[in-house]
């Protein structure tokens, strides 16, 4: 089935075509979502939302871009939304609560310091952890380019900005990522362990 035929069936609400679409794109979508959100459960949730939004919005897909570009664009925006909601719902819980029915927070006794813990991680996990600290803009381009291997042009289409902007953003993102990793390692080294 060509992409055109698939889109036509999707616009008719064909569930078989929808399932074929999920089959084709689920891996990429889930991995992009995981790259952005660093949490498997959130990534699954976001990915489901991506496909539901695709189903609901396909009627208005004008086919000016490829289907994959459109889907990845939805994915990036759904993830951005998740990140914003996550920030908004970040809670603080008082550890001085006297009410019996309130959640008791247990602070684990960590034998290694945060810096030691970071150093013990494999590089992939160091990268993952550090990416969490980057802006969503930087995170997006790193996920799309360096993890998922999409070209600058493709990313430019997805993000609706010039390829030059994408390239410059990626360079800055890579620099920022390395700088943060080095800072964390230096903190470990300077802690004298």
């Amino acid at each position: 089935m060509t992409e055109k035929e698939l889109v036509k069936l999707l616009k008719e609400g064909d569930r078989g075509a929808f399932n074929a679409l999920i089959e084709e794109y689920q891996s990429k979508v889930i991995n992009i979502a995981y790259g952005m959100l660093s949490d498997t459960e959130d990534a699954m949730d976001a990915s489901q939302e991506v496909f539901i939004n695709v189903y609901k919005s396909i009627g208005n897909f004008k086919e000016n871009s490829s289907l994959s570009t459109w889907i990845y664009r939805i994915c990036a925006n759904v993830c951005k939304d998740f990140l914003r909601k996550r920030m908004r719902s970040a809670k603080t819980v008082s550890i001085f609560s006297s009410k019996e029915d309130e959640e008791i927070i247990e602070i684990p006794d960590e034998s290694s310091s945060p810096h030691e813990r970071f150093e013990e991680l494999e590089l992939k996990d160091q990268i993952r952890e550090t990416m969490d600290e980057l802006s969503e803009e930087f995170r997006t381009v790193l996920v799309l380019c360096d993890i998922e291997g999409l070209s600058y042009d493709k990313i430019a289409e997805i993000l609706k900005c010039p390829a030059g902007t994408v390239k410059s953003r990626i360079n800055r993102a890579r620099g920022a990522l390395r700088k943060k990793i080095l800072e964390k390692r230096e903190l470990f080294n300077s802690s004298g362990v």
Binding site: Q26, T40, S47, N53, Y55, K56, N60, W70, D146, I147
Partner: protein, 346 residues
Amino acid sequence: MEDMFFYNIDKYVYEECSESEMKLFMEHLGSCEKCKAEYELACQVKDAMHGMNNITPPADFSKLVNERLDREISKPKARGFIKPGYRKYSAVAACLVLAAVLGAETIDFTKAPVLDSSIVTEEGLQSVITEVSEQTPVPENSVMVPSPATEEAVNGAASTTYAPTAKPAKAQPAAHANKQAYAPAKTPAATKMPEIPSHLDPEKQTVLASSVEKTYEISGVSLEEVPVKKRNLEEEFALLETTKTGVIVANPATMSSLDGVEVQIKKSNTSDYGVGSGSIFIAAKDKEIVDELITKYIFVEDNNCYFFTGDNFDSFIEELKIQGIDYKEILVSEKGNNVAINIVVA
């Protein structure tokens, strides 16, 4: 020269340079520890990142998506034709209905409930319903007149009859069980392209005329299909003159003056659970603010068509208020939980 190598290190890591440049760089590495360390780290990061997220989708992922989609489709649509400002009237109407039912001396489940005229008269009830509906013209496919595709899903949720399913319902008072009683009176649709008001200055007339053409061209929807609320154009323009921010949301059929960003919602031609749509105009003096708000709240953009989730659309409208941006009317027919709008720069 050394700094130039350091700050362009990705060029060499990702081999986005010529052979001669690479050769120069490699020679440089022999004598620069700083660049060497950065280059090594960058290469390690590059290799580690390549395909590092290798999550295999669960076997039942497709099933989960379909189940979730089915749930969303069959959910009774809470959002509807009642504008936020007028929801209090719907609450009043609901309370009156409840009071009427509870006021009945007995509840006979074999008979339809009867209005207790000591609490509320049928005329009074109907007038409340009419008041609510007149504030917001309701497209044919509004939530309170469920379409055949969703009717089964909601399974009579719109009906207030108490007749048990085992026995056939008896004739119901129109105000209660007859769904048509809740279908608000339709305001007459525009039958032709509205005339551009002649008292506007020529520049505004030109902008308006061009916008009218674009409405047809882009949305493919004739203005005849857009429900029109009768309004006083003089009031509209008076508002335009006095509004500080100069942003008005108006019925496209009346074509209020547009300065800046014109936002149109394309009418959906998809199925019942497709994207909701309608018509909305925002005329903004500062296009950038509106662009920023749109980018902030949309989940996807396709060419000039912008998609909001239902919640985000609410937030978008909220922020218009917070920004001091006036709006008069939104005609949104929501079939799904999403709203799609086309943006045309006037």
